[in-house]
């Protein structure tokens, strides 16, 4: 097995601590969860996950203390590489104490083409005045199934900027539930899914505006090729006294094959009267006019199609705040759309 970024000495996993990354991003702390075993990051770093068993279930917790604003980003790389135990279940928790802020990147990879089922909960608690940049990058093989259930509770003036990048995976299910429980909260969620072959993707989003004066803004965009399928169901709920709520939700899909299918259901449930809310969904195909325009300038059809797809997803990637991460993700997305992933037998090259 030849790896660019993550490698195992002797080509074999003996213990999890043998993982490391050759090209980490600047200012990034890395930790690994290999088959549910945590490694990396020394005890001195404030920003890190530690194991905190919850009965028999594996649980990893990252606690950011009050007022603490580490500059480094924490990258947690979750790896599946042992197909003899395909099912794995663990949970993560991120606890942002008052007035803290942090950036966390979670990457999930399968290292072989075998069948894996990974399921995990993630609990995120944002105390008053705390702020979290959370990016999830999923890049798994076609026989892998991954179910993520993310629950977020937000306090007063808390801010969450979450971006879910589903680059590749056989069957990805992301459910997100956000409760905005304190006034002045701001929640941004961006989602990007790129599916082809027989891949499946489901996003199930529930965003609850339980109190007044909160702001939420969601955009999910997907490109579906071959026989892939995607489902989006999003519900924005505005409680009876949650006045001055601003809530936006959009889901846009680009079908690049005739067989790909999308089912999208954005919903608003509003019980307050002084609010600004909108939702919308589209399922579209390539824009023939702009393809012709590009071709008339000498951009070959294949390239024109890629440019159009890159343009389509641009808006979601723009939401990633860390520049270097944004650039890496953009280049991964481009390679993915150019079909360079399938050429490459070893998916582990394709990580942030």
């Amino acid at each position: 097995m030849e790896n660019n970024y993550i490698y195992v000495p002797d080509g074999k996993l003996r213990n999890s601590s043998s993982f490391r990354c050759r090209v980490p991003m600047q200012g990034t702390l890395q930790q690994f969860i290999a088959e549910g075993v945590l490694s990396g990051a020394d005890d001195s770093s404030v920003l890190r996950f530690v194991e905190d068993a919850e009965g028999s279930r594996k649980r990893f917790v990252c606690n950011v203390p009050k007022g603490c604003c580490p500059e480094e980003m924490l990258q947690l790389i979750a790896i599946r590489n042992n197909p003899s135990n395909p099912e794995l279940d663990y949970s993560l928790a991120v606890n942002m104490e008052e007035s803290s802020s942090a950036s966390i990147l979670l990457c999930s990879h399968t290292m072989t083409h075998d069948y894996y089922v990974t399921s995990g909960d993630m609990d995120v608690a944002l105390s008053d005045n705390s702020s979290l940049n959370l990016v999830l990058m999923q890049n798994e093989h076609n026989d892998a199934r991954h179910i993520s259930r993310i629950k977020v509770a937000m306090g007063r003036n808390a801010r969450l900027n979450m971006v879910l990048v589903s680059l590749h995976g056989g069957d990805l299910e992301n459910s997100v539930r956000v409760d905005m429980n304190g006034e002045g909260g701001e929640c941004r969620i961006g989602g990007l899914y790129l599916m082809d072959r027989n891949q499946k993707y489901v996003a199930d989003i529930r965003l609850n505006h339980n109190v007044p004066h909160c702001h939420s803004d969601q955009i999910f965009k997907g490109i579906l090729d071959d026989n892939s399928k995607a489902g989006f169901s999003g519900l924005v709920y505005v409680a009876p006294d949650a006045q001055k709520t601003e809530a936006y939700q959009a889901n846009h899909n680009l079908l690049v094959s005739d067989q790909a299918k999308v089912d999208t259901q954005p919903q608003l449930e509003i019980y307050a009267d002084d609010v600004k809310c909108s939702h919308g969904a589209t399922i579209g195909r390539m824009d023939e006019q702009s393809l012709f325009y590009m071709r008339s300038r000498g951009i070959a059809l294949k390239e024109a199609r890629i440019l159009q797809q890159l343009a389509f997803v641009h808006e979601v990637l723009e939401r990633v705040e860390k520049t270097e991460l944004k650039e890496r993700l953009a280049s991964l997305v481009e390679r993915r759309l150019r079909g360079e992933f399938s050429d490459c037998r070893d998916c582990s090259k394709n990580c942030c």
Partner: protein, 254 residues
């Protein structure tokens, strides 16, 4: 003759089964500028679109040779590589693709076809700056989405900028003057003139003499109901400006 850039013989075309072009003959040689005039709906844009290879246009008859090759066999991108350029009457917006990236893809694809390596970032930016100056375009347009939020005049300037970048052998300017104020018209026309060489040619589609005051044609054609009903020198444009098309239509129907 090897100085012929474009030769059209008996070109007929339909859209959705409706016959729009009904037998066009036109020969354009190196160094020439041809004007095509004619009332709205005559088929001027259809002719441009057929020449540029727009899908959904059905060529039902005739032959088109461009630089010695069968144009109708070529894809739109091949036509561009061979040196054909259409300045669109209604330029298309391409949100999310910046002018820079758009032109980089286009220029490098052209270079690839000529067996040249891609331009370095620095060389490309230099070229871009140089060519933007041709139409007095502000550099802030480079980083904006192609034609997104551009005014009518800015879109037309952008078309001529693209033409300057690609240096075509044949430029078809479809109502490049519409929507331009006097200053913009002068800038765009001056840009087109700067790009003119004895080796290339242009087809200027317009309703108005005022553009032809700047870009002086060698030949003027009037297109009506899918046919060229009159071909003459540049004085024809002045006559059309004064008298309209009715007399020509009567003459052709007589």
């Amino acid at each position: 003759m090897n100085d012929i850039i474009l030769n059209i013989e008996g070109l007929a075309a339909t859209i959705d089964g409706k016959e729009i072009l009904k037998g066009i003959d036109l020969t354009i040689r190196k160094g020439e500028t041809h004007a095509i005039m004619g009332p709205n709906g005559s088929g001027k844009s259809t002719l441009s679109a057929v020449l540029a290879g727009k899908p959904n246009y059905n060529v039902t008859g005739g032959k088109v040779t461009f630089m010695g090759r069968d144009l109708l066999e070529m894809s739109p991108e091949e036509r561009s590589w061979a040196g054909l350029f259409l300045s669109f009457q209604y330029p298309i917006e391409v949100p999310g693709v910046t002018n820079v990236n758009f032109m980089k893809s286009a220029v490098n694809e052209h270079r690839k076809q000529k067996g040249l390596p891609p331009l370095s970032a620095a060389a490309f930016l230099k070229l871009m700056r140089e060519k933007m100056a041709v139409v007095e375009m502000d550099s802030s347009f480079s980083s904006r989405g192609v034609n997104v939020g551009f005014s009518g005049g800015e879109k037309k300037r952008n078309e001529i900028f693209q033409m300057a970048m690609l240096e075509p052998s044949l430029a078809i300017l479809d109502e490049t003057d519409s929507g331009l104020d006097v200053d913009a018209l002068r800038i765009v026309a001056a840009g087109v003139n700067k790009l003119k060489t004895p080796d290339n040619a242009a087809i200027v589609i317009t309703h108005y003499q005022r553009l032809l005051d700047y870009i002086v044609p060698d030949v003027v054609h009037v297109l009506y109901k899918g046919r060229i009903i009159k071909t003459a020198g540049k004085e024809l444009a002045l006559e059309v400006e004064k008298k309209g098309y009715d007399w020509l239509i009567h003459e052709s129907e007589a």
